[in-house]
Symmetry: C2
Subunit: 128 residues, 2 copies
DNA sequence: CGTTACCTTGACGTAAACGTCAATCCCCCT
DNA sequence: AGGGGGATTGACGTTTACGTCAAGGTAACG
């Protein structure tokens, strides 16, 4: 049963707005079927949406996601494409870990200031 | 010696562009002196810039920073204002830690997929 | 005095990911 | 026939933190 969902049902199912779905479509991330003018989302469209949302959680841009998705669409078994995807994922992972490291530093610094009761502004007074 | 720096010197000293300094001024974050039309940055202006850059590292928005800065400008010793600053800092810290937690989850998930050689797209194939 | 380097204001542009109308259209129900 | 409730397209708006001209002022050097 390849049950088809209307845009409203998709919104409810995936917690996104209709605008978002149309936006993704415009960006070539999803291609729902049409029944007249109305959109109908099949299994494939839903799978892609899930991947999009997942990619977003990973911090990929929509453009990155589009490329990954379309690469797989054309040939999911091409070794070069698999390698490319892997490469992108590794790079993104490195970014995330770097971001986490920075965040850790900032957290530690802010904690120190809070412990000193200094908030972030003691330096202003000191500089007068 | 309250040596005064020109905008160009400020750029070199703090690694920011002139546009950035003018932008901060327009946003009421910094108030340099004037010699004719030219800006001159005194000790206070420089202290504020440092705090701005620091606030940014903490992830505060410029608007947040402006409010904090101006609160202190009016009365750095007011208990209510100190409390407010502290409160903002604590809230921000909580945000940062939440963000860090999410990041950890995403990192772990992405690592798992990489380990499986699945990148992020295995599900697409599975859904066909 | 002329050139150069640096400065000024003002205004429009940019990026991402949608939000928010407006005008229409379509189907279903009573 | 008259409403509703959803859908559609198109187009402009939003946010943040600046970037990028353009046109012109000014100050120091030679």
């Amino acid at each position: 049963m390849d049950d088809l969902l209307t845009i409203g049902e998709m919104c409810a199912a995936y917690q996104v707005t209709a605008r978002t779905l149309r936006f993704y479509e415009q960006k070539e991330l999803i291609q729902p079927r049409r029944e007249g003018a109305h959109r109908l989302y099949d299994r494939r469209a839903r799978a892609r949406l899930q991947l999009i949302l997942r990619g977003k959680r990973f911090g990929f841009s929509l453009e990155d996601i589009r490329q990954l998705l379309n690469m797989y669409e054309r040939d999911g078994t091409n070794a070069a494409q698999l390698a490319r995807t892997h490469e992108l994922a590794v790079a993104r992972l490195a970014q995330m870990e770097a971001q986490r490291a920075e965040l850790d530093v900032a957290i530690a610094e802010l904690k120190t200031e809070l412990a000193e009761g200094a908030a972030m502004l003691a330096a202003l007074k000191a500089a007068e």
